[in-house]
């Protein structure tokens, strides 16, 4: 028991949940009212954002489906729910998401450890590379994945293994896409855990495994749960991967909603399916909140740079080699397939496709602007979306850190909902809800970063929250006793400690915005296409030049993503000097 307590610098007699930890009597009285006001102030902006840009549009499209001539038509609900194919879809959606999450955790947790604890050359670059799949349009990445798993792919040529017709292709592709979520969310916190605690446990006689299980694992619990939740929500709403690698026999709820909304215009059925998806996601969120609340506690965080060191002994070198091999096979090879295809022109290797991107005319009229302009558009949109996501998500995380009641926990779950909502629901919702002044944003460019920020916010909240909650409450109280205002206490205590998490969150928000396709495709203007939208437009046409340009733009998207993340890493290194 001594060991377990060593990770909780808070008084052991207190409940682990900071939310329920009683504050000193004096500050409770003064702080109670002020705290409530502050919390409300912090929550106002995220609440308004979600009300206007998520709840309202989604409610509008669902209502349009279930209400006609001023009356509710709920008869459709049992009808749809009774359809065996819908139940089958729901079952497949759920189990493939659970399996993908499990597999991703199994493959990526060793990676998180390696990235957190080992220092090796090229680590920063590799951390950026594993995040690249995250931004790639699934159409492109799926096609690259076929180059690995499909007929004539690498595995086929080496060992005669073809996975492209089995569910394994879907699961492995989900690992490919979500590896970074685990490495970044869990690894980010792991790097800041003080290794001396585990070492102390070892000195006191615990086996390596026992020390890990009783010291490190409890401390990592919330971050692992957060990563698992995000991977689950991402794979639950998987669309492109299922279509390309699963083929027509596999369909998720997301595919069904897309078909009903965008193709059949059967809004009542789409509305019921959306509600089913909400119910499923809400259940997952409740489960997540329940598991996490029991584990969160203040932790001793240290500078990440101090915890990483060169691997020692054959076991550690072996682990590093194993992780690198997995990353190479699962992530680098499919990406390399794309790069190879972008360079493989009609007359051998060269930059033909890249040169063609530079003029609108070279694209055979596919674009009103030179396709390279999409780089600038994507960067601008993603930058604005990142700011939106950081402001909204940061404030929400700050509000959620404070002593929280039931209401606040509900708010926490609400912020995650966009990840579990079909992009077509959001895209169509925007179009029918934001169509009247003062909110007629349909023709405005700002609608794109707004939609992208919606997906970015959950990442910001989930990355920031475990770290913010790990900040020892007594530090804030000490600041308050010394006369600091809550804002000042936040600036002087929380901000320096969470600077790293903030950079990780910004990286996620940026990457997610850069890669967002499902909603953007409905709302981006054709003269201001983003990179994924431009890639899809090229891929929709026959001809080698079009295909090659799609691959070239995808490669550029990868580079843009990797460079942006590397730049963010740099900021982060400077930041962590403040520890």
């Amino acid at each position: 028991m001594v060991l377990a307590r060593s990770v909780e610098p808070t008084e052991p007699t207190e409940p682990a949940d900071p939310a329920e930890r009683p504050a000193p009597a004096e500050s409770r009285e003064r702080g109670g009212l002020r705290g409530a006001a502050l919390r409300f102030g912090l929550m106002a902006v995220p609440l308004a954002f979600f009300a206007v840009f998520f709840a309202y549009p989604v409610a509008a499209i669902v209502t349009r489906g279930l209400r006609a001539d001023g009356r509710w038509h709920l008869g459709r609900i049992p009808e749809v729910l009774g359809d065996p194919s819908v139940l089958h879809t729901l079952w497949f959606t759920g189990w493939q998401a659970a399996a993908s999450t499990g597999l991703t955790l199994a493959v990526a947790l060793p990676g998180a450890y390696v990235f957190a604890r080992f220092a090796f050359p090229g680590k920063g670059l590799l951390r950026a590379v594993v995040t690249v799949p995250f931004v790639l349009p699934t159409v492109v990445a799926g096609s690259a994945f076929l180059g690995l798993l499909g007929r004539g792919g690498l595995l086929d040529e080496l060992w005669g293994i073809r996975l492209d017709t089995s569910v394994w292709a879907i699961l492995l592709a989900h690992v490919f896409f979500n590896y970074a979520v685990v490495v970044r969310t869990v690894g980010g916190l792991w790097a800041q855990l003080d290794p001396r605690q585990e070492e102390a446990a070892r000195v006191l006689g615990a086996s390596r495994l026992a020390a890990w299980r009783r010291v490190t694992l409890p401390a990592l619990g919330p971050a692992v749960a957060a990563a698992a939740l995000m991977v689950f929500l991402f794979t639950f709403t998987s669309f492109g991967v299922i279509q390309i690698l699963g083929g027509p026999r596999y369909a998720t709820l997301e595919v069904a909603i897309y078909r009903q909304t965008a193709q059949l215009l059967d809004l009542p059925t789409a509305a019921v399916l959306t509600l089913v998806q909400f119910a499923a996601v809400a259940a997952i969120l409740a489960l997540h909140a329940w598991t996490v609340r029991r584990r969160e506690g203040a932790l001793r965080l240290v500078d990440a740079a101090r915890t990483a060191r060169r691997p020692q002994g054959p076991a550690q070198w072996g682990l590093l080699a194993g992780v690198l091999a997995v990353v190479a096979l699962l992530i680098v090879v499919p990406l390399a397939v794309l790069v190879e295809r972008s360079l493989h022109g009609p007359d051998g290797y060269g930059f033909t496709y890249y040169r063609a991107l530079q003029s609108a005319a070279g694209s055979g009229g596919t674009f009103f602007v030179a396709p390279v302009d999409a780089i600038g558009n994507s960067l601008r949109y993603a930058a604005v979306a990142t700011v939106f996501a950081l402001v909204v998500g940061g404030l929400a995380a700050a509000a959620l850190t404070r002593r929280a009641g039931r209401l606040v926990r509900g708010f926490d779950a609400l912020l995650m909902l966009p990840l579990g909502t079909s992009a077509v629901t959001v895209g169509f919702g925007f179009l029918i809800a934001l169509d009247e002044p003062p909110l007629d944003l349909r023709a405005s460019w700002v609608i794109v970063p707004l939609a992208q920020a919606l997906v970015g916010v959950p990442f910001v909240v989930r990355t920031m929250l475990p770290v913010l909650r790990a900040v020892d409450h007594r530090l804030r109280e000490a600041a308050a006793v010394l006369g600091a205002s809550p804002l000042r206490a936040w600036r002087e205590v929380d901000l320096p400690l969470v600077g790293r998490a903030l950079a990780v969150a910004a990286g996620f928000a940026f990457a997610v915005s850069l890669g967002e396709f499902g909603a953007t495709v409905f709302i981006a203007r054709p003269d201001l296409p983003t990179l994924p939208v431009a890639v899809a437009r090229f891929l929709g046409r026959a001809g080698q030049l079009n295909y090659g340009q799609a691959m070239a733009l995808s490669t550029i998207l990868m580079l843009v993503c990797a460079c942006s993340l590397l730049a963010l890493e740099r900021i982060r290194t400077d930041r962590s000097g403040e520890f």
Partner: protein, 357 residues
């Protein structure tokens, strides 16, 4: 872009304060209401040369702003959902498979565009009321990999019936009719040839002959089809694609081959005609009518093939050389009346899914 950037910074700084500020920044929203601008709402395959759009501005004084969202089906559905508050003045891109839905939802204001006399009657599917104006047409056909069939000394298939013959076993890849528009068109083509019930037997035979179904055209054409120059190493020499795919394969090549690397089985085609219409509640009705007229001018019509890889509806519009040289002649494409498609689409796709998938 500068104003956008400034706006971005402002929005970022005050974004947290609320939404009023954001909508104020929507510089784009303002030009939509300008009477000198006409807004064309379309799907994301719409394309036109800059010079041609400039020509329109020169002739009429109106500038064209294009607003696109998703594929053809999604774009039509969006237009229906925003009926009353349309996103623009003219909608382009509703085809015969979706026409009934658009007309039943009363999307368009009738307008008889100038130049219709040059358009064959077969394309004028709403000639009584002129709610929509035909602009282009294209055929969905089975394409074949010329090199494969030459290598095997096998004649490529010509008709739908050929596809069920043992010689072509396991050679065809098509798209899911439930999720892909060429996939749906191919299904409709078989229904047009074999009748409301006969198509089921045809597909049973096709299935027995080893047809492969993938979800989208991109996967079928680039990943599975062996004749496309781009993409992976496909092993299917037959694919459901467009009649214009062979010209597209050679359009960018520096040295033009004698024949396109792929060909079209002309007896397997289904014809799609695309229409445009003046949206009800349009802010700029006059500009919209001028744009509809312009879509039928020779200048625009001759610009259509190389931009969207479809054929102009105007009889006297000249086709570019890649189309005349490498394109296929489709003398007798299958068609179905839009009303029949609207009525049967959902049940047919359902029946097809349980039959083939």
């Amino acid at each position: 872009m500068n104003s956008h950037l400034r706006c971005a910074v402002t929005a970022a700084l005050v974004g947290s304060l609320g939404t009023g500020v954001l909508s104020g920044c929507g510089g784009g929203a303002a030009d939509g209401k300008d009477s000198k601008t006409v807004t064309l709402v379309s799907h994301d395959s719409f394309a036109a040369s800059k010079a041609v759009l400039k020509e329109f501005t020169r002739q009429t004084g109106y500038k064209v702003r294009v607003q696109a969202g998703g594929d053809a089906g999604a774009a039509v559905n969006q237009a229906i959902l925003s009926k009353g508050h349309p996103q623009g003045d003219v909608f382009f891109g509703v085809d015969n498979t979706l026409l009934s839905r658009a007309l039943d939802n009363d999307l368009f204001t009738p307008y008889e565009a100038k130049g219709l006399d040059k358009v064959p009657a077969a394309h004028q599917l709403d000639s009584a009321k002129h709610r929509v104006t035909p602009v282009d047409y294209g055929d969905i056909c089975v394409n074949y990999d010329r090199a494969y069939f030459e290598g095997k000394k096998l004649a490529p298939p010509k008709t739908l019936a050929d596809l069920t013959k043992p010689a072509y076993k396991n050679l065809l890849v098509t798209e899911n009719a439930a999720t892909s528009s060429p996939g749906l068109a191919f299904l409709l083509g078989t229904a047009a040839r074999y009748g409301d019930h006969g198509w089921r037997d045809y597909w049973k035979k096709l299935r027995a002959n080893g047809v492969e179904v993938v979800d989208g055209w991109e996967q079928a054409y680039y990943d599975r089809f062996s004749g496309s120059a781009g993409g992976g190493k496909g092993d299917k020499p037959l694919v459901v694609s467009y009649a214009s795919s062979p010209p597209a394969e050679v359009a960018d090549a520096k040295s033009k081959p004698a024949k396109a690397p792929t060909g079209v089985a002309a007896g397997t085609c289904f014809r799609q005609t695309e229409f445009a219409g003046l949206l009800k509640g349009a802010g700029n009705t006059k500009g919209g009518k001028a744009l509809l007229d312009f879509l039928l001018t020779k200048r625009f019509q001759e610009d259509v093939p190389l931009n969207m890889y479809v054929n102009p509806v105007r009889e006297d519009a000249k086709l570019p050389e890649v189309f005349t040289r490498y394109g296929a002649k489709v003398p007798d494409p299958a068609t179905l009346p839009p009303r029949k498609i609207a009525k049967n689409r959902e049940p047919w796709v359902k029946a097809w899914s349980s039959l083939v998938l």
